[in-house]
Amino acid sequence: MTTTMPATPTPLTTPTMTLADLTRRSGLDVLDHLERQVTIPVVDGLQAQGDLIVVPYAFVTRAVTLTSGNWSEVPAAGVELLRSAAGGNPHTLVADPGTCRWTRHVRDTMGLAIAMIETSAVAYLIHPEHGGTGIAPGRYVVRRQRERNTERMGWRGDRMIAD
């Protein structure tokens, strides 16, 4: 994937970020039929993108803990949080350099968490089919979706959903 960055990148903290701005800024593309000129809403609470959910950390403090103090900076090119099984489409987190950090080192009693994010400025999740969504400053846990495993034999727990 080649990322072409504009000469002076639009900061992600621009209040009227549209999907067109976001795709241009991040170098990531979305499917043609998605509306590109509408401002992307920024949410500071619970929100979902496909089979991924972004949960304010306060909702899950007892269920989700860090297993290591190692965080990573979210780079300018973004970081893929989850790649879907049907369509190969990733959920990518993008943020202005130096504003957002993330880690995979989480333990979740539900077994669904895939990452924790902490951001001091607005960060965005982009997905080719679901478009873009804004995450307000704060700390969040990113979880996958599950359904009840309905096999007669074998693993009797739950099955992860692959979008």
């Binding site: 994937m1 499917l31 043609d32 039929h33 998605l34 809403p41 949410v43 609470g45 619970l46 929100q47 979902a48 993108q49 496909g50 959910i53 949960v55 909702f59 899950v60 269920a63 790649r83 879907s84 099984a85 049907a86 369509g87 190969g88 489409n89 979740d108 539900m110 077994g111 669904l112 997905h127 089919e129 679901h130 478009g131 873009g132 969504t133 979880r143 979706q145 599950r146 359904e147 009840r148 495993n149 309905t150 096999e151 007669r152 009797r156 959903i161």
Partner: protein, 403 residues
């Protein structure tokens, strides 16, 4: 070697590896007639290596046709047992096919020694999921990158997604083991692996090993499945049609069988293999997916494929699932969540069905609907939806936005 030239040598090797991977994948997926002279010559050479005379060749249109011949001739194609008590003391007393297999096992041991590691995969195996170009620049060792691009990619495609489905269709899962199948073009994944290491200069094979590998490579390039026996060798033609789609997380050209308007694989005698997005399905899923058949089907992946084929709405209406409750979908204005009771036989354990609607719109303007199985104790669709994310109904009701 300076870092810069090491990197460019790596890039050069990667390009060559990609080309080899594409070539071997093409052989594995080939749907043109077998090159019979080349295949027969290779088999005769193999027989010679175990001091067996050249066999009579029987060509048939498909593995199914071949297996009926093999099963009907246990004298020429004796069952192969690997239990110690039943084995003759020396390999020379083994059935011919077992002697050839022994030869190939020794070959692979020798090749693995030259390569430096084995190709075997445990149940824990997962392919490395980063682009090879990035792996190169972050300093992943060249052999690991070659494994990713060639061996692992071909294994995922040819072994897991193609060979396994044709086996499932043509070989019964009950009964004893008869004969031993040799996979011709569907061995291209491990042959391509060893071939790539040699062509990239990463491994040096003994001459005898290289020659035997060349014979097997010739078979992978020229024929379908085959069964060697004493004095007789049955050869199945390659398919006449193979339909595939890219694997969703494919980074190295991986594909799986898929066709939704006909068989994914077809042979000249009209033997067919149906597959939907890589799932092997019986013909009825394609031609007559009725609720009765769905409920009678034991395989859950087949049931799911069949339900998706008729659509969740249709299935729910025709199966007359008991509607428990409906509520608004938090964060998804204008959409509803529906909870249904499901007959025990469908899911084999107590569960209910939550019908959800995507917040984002499909290219054709519709919103995709799909059913999720949830624990049976839920009466509230919002609580059931929250459960799918590990959240309580109260928390999930606060969902601000869904895309």
């Amino acid at each position: 070697m300076t870092p810069v030239s090491a990197l460019s040598q790596g890039a050069h090797r990667l390009a060559l590896a990609r080309r080899l991977s594409d070539e071997w994948r093409a052989h594995g997926l080939a749907a043109r007639p077998a090159d019979r002279p080349a295949a027969e010559a290779a088999v005769v050479a193999l027989y010679r290596l175990i001091d067996a005379p050249a066999p009579e060749f029987v060509w048939v249109p498909s593995p199914t046709a071949a297996l009926s011949i093999v099963h009907d001739d246990p004298h020429t194609f004796p069952p192969v047992h690997f239990q110690g008590a039943n084995l003759p003391k020396y390999p020379e007393g083994w059935p011919l096919t077992a002697q050839l297999a022994n030869l190939v096992q020794d070959l692979r041991r020798g090749l693995d020694r030259a390569v430096g590691h084995g190709v075997s995969r445990g149940s824990w195996w997962r392919p490395l999921a980063i682009p090879a170009e990035r792996a190169l620049t972050t300093g992943v060792a060249i052999p690991a990158i070659i494994d990713m691009v060639v061996g692992d990619a071909l294994y995922a495609t040819l072994h897991n997604c193609v060979r396994a489905l044709i086996r499932a269709e043509s070989m019964p899962t009950t009964g004893g083991t008869d004969g031993m199948t040799w996979y011709g073009q569907h061995d291209a994944h491990w042959i391509g692996h060893y071939d790539a290491y040699a062509r990239l200069g990463l491994a040096q094979y003994r001459r005898s090993d290289a020659e035997l590998l060349a014979l097997l490579a010739e078979l992978a390039r020229s024929t379908g499945w085959w069964w060697p026996g004493e004095g007789r060798c049955v050869m199945a033609e390659r398919p006449t049609e193979v339909h595939t789609e890219p694997l969703p997380d494919a980074l190295n050209g991986e594909v799986r069988l898929h066709r939704d308007d006909g068989p994914a694989v077809r042979f000249a005698d009209d033997t067919q293999v149906h597959a939907l997005h890589g799932t092997h399905v019986p013909t009825w899923v394609m031609t007559d997916p009725s609720v009765e058949r769905i409920h009678a089907e034991r395989n859950i992946e087949v049931r799911r494929s069949a339900i998706e084929r008729i659509g969740w709405d249709t299935y729910i209406a025709q199966a007359r699932l008991r509607h428990i409750a409906t509520s608004g979908d938090p964060g998804n204005p204008g959409s509803a969540l529906h909870l249904y009771d499901v007959p025990r036989e469908l899911w084999s354990r107590p569960a209910r069905l939550l019908l959800v609607v995507n917040g984002s719109v499909e290219p054709d303007g519709t919103h995709r609907r799909y059913g999720l199985s949830v624990p049976a104790h839920f009466d509230d669709p919002v609580a059931a939806a929250g459960w799918t994310y590990g959240l309580s109904g109260e928390h999930y009701a606060r969902l601000a936005r869904r895309t």
